[in-house]
Amino acid sequence: MPITLEIVTPDATVYSEEVDHVVVPTANGKIDILPHHVPVIDKLIAGDLKVEKNGTVEYLAVSSGFVEVYSEKVSILTDEALKINEQDDSKIEEAVKRAQEALSEGKKSNLDLAAIQKLEAATRFALAQQIAKGKSK
């Protein structure tokens, strides 16, 4: 019996499909979600999200947010999410580099805390893309 995975961001519903198995990165470590999972709410951290569907494995990069599992449905609430197979390597590497540079520069020039946190979140998301890409090979 499949479960529904739904990933929503402020701009759109990025992903909504029936899948067999999901691994979600959370603040308490990765949680493995199979059908008949107990209802849960947890905090999502930036990382790679693994989706298994009809024997094929797909990776997505997600930013931080929240995850809810309820009645055979996994809902993910996050700022950003990307299907990693659609991205190419060089672009991701570039994004990581840009994010890290912006972060180190921001720290040097004493930006306020909120701005630095924003840069850190961007960096984490870029890194998450890289990790997910590495795994999907």
Binding site: E6, V8, T9, P10, D11, A12, T13, T26, A27, N28, V38, P39, V40, I41, D42, K43, F66, E68, V69, Y70, S75, L77, D79, A114, K118
Partner: protein, 291 residues
């Protein structure tokens, strides 16, 4: 009676005005479609977020966080979302009419040039003004949220309210004043959200979910911030959809009116021309008769 040359000039003038209003109508139409779609695409996120906030907050016996607790209101904080440009019918004046009975202790933050102008003209206490690009991304409104939260945290303002134009359909937009913070009645918040988006599963209670979140105070604050951000984003999108719809309707009316005016003027022109010809013939025949 005006002479034919004057009438011809006026027809020309009205025609070029019509051309402009027609072009503006086209532009508004295409922008309106995009803005309407964008306003709708944020809805699933809003529903899921509200659901998570309610479930997490349910776990608490008592919430002591500032975002969720009522406090005596000395200064209301109102964010007014107006437009940058005019020529959109009565959109802005309808919006500002809602402010007439807000007393003078309230403090304001404005988005859009028209709102800023109105607030300074009526000598309101304007804390800050922002401007947004045409298709605002989520990150564009971040500065506004941070400003509001800081003012709220420092007790400069005791509520966060938003005055915006709610989008109902292309022909109807209504100004709404919505209070977002403090979030003291979560049930009501969730119900309102369901009503607005026309989803009716509010009454179906969900079973308890296990909440694996540690450090709940911090998470509640984060959820509150996300809620504010999402709501304001949604309202900005709706205001833009309303603006473009109102402009399209206003420009369509203007184009139609210009068409009517041209018809009337053409009739007048032909009449004047005919009168002149008749006059000439009369003069000629009178002259031949007298000879």
């Amino acid at each position: 009676m005006a002479n034919t040359r004057d009438i011809r000039l006026r027809i020309k003038g009205v025609k070029s005005t019509r051309q402009i209003t027609r072009a503006m109508q086209m532009v508004a139409t295409s922008k309106m479609k995009k803005a309407q779609d964008a306003a709708k695409s944020g809805r699933p996120y809003a529903m899921l977020l509200a659901d998570i906030i309610v479930s997490v907050a349910d776990e608490f016996e008592e919430i002591t966080h500032k975002y969720f607790n009522d406090r005596p209101v000395r200064h209301r904080g109102i964010l007014v979302i107006g437009t940058d440009k005019g020529l959109c019918g009565a959109l802005n004046s309808n919006l500002f009419r809602m402010l007439a009975d807000v007393d003078s202790s309230a403090k304001f933050v404005s988005v859009g040039k028209r709102a800023t102008q109105y607030l300074s003209r009526t000598h309101r206490d304007l804390l800050a003004d922002f401007s947004l690009p045409d298709k605002p991304r989520y990150s564009d409104i971040k500065a506004i949220i941070e400003f509001l939260l800081r003012a709220y945290g420092d007790d400069q303002i005791d509520t966060i309210e938003v005055l915006h134009t709610g989008f109902i359909n292309t022909l109807r937009q209504e100004p709404e004043l919505v209070r977002l913070f403090p979030l003291n009645d979560l049930d009501e918040m969730s119900q309102k959200l369901h009503e607005r988006f026309g989803v009716n599963d509010h009454d179906v209670p969900k079973d308890k979910r296990e909440i694996l979140i540690e450090n709940r105070d911090e998470v509640l604050a984060e959820l509150g911030t996300l809620y504010l951000k999402q709501q304001i984003h949604q309202m900005v999108m709706e205001s833009q959809a309303s603006e473009h719809s109102a402009r399209m309707v206003a420009m369509k009316t203007a184009t139609d009116n210009a068409g009517n005016l041209i018809n009337d003027l053409t009739l007048q022109y032909n009449r004047a021309r005919q009168a002149a010809i008749t006059q000439e013939i009369l003069e000629i025949s009178a002259a031949t008769l007298s000879n």
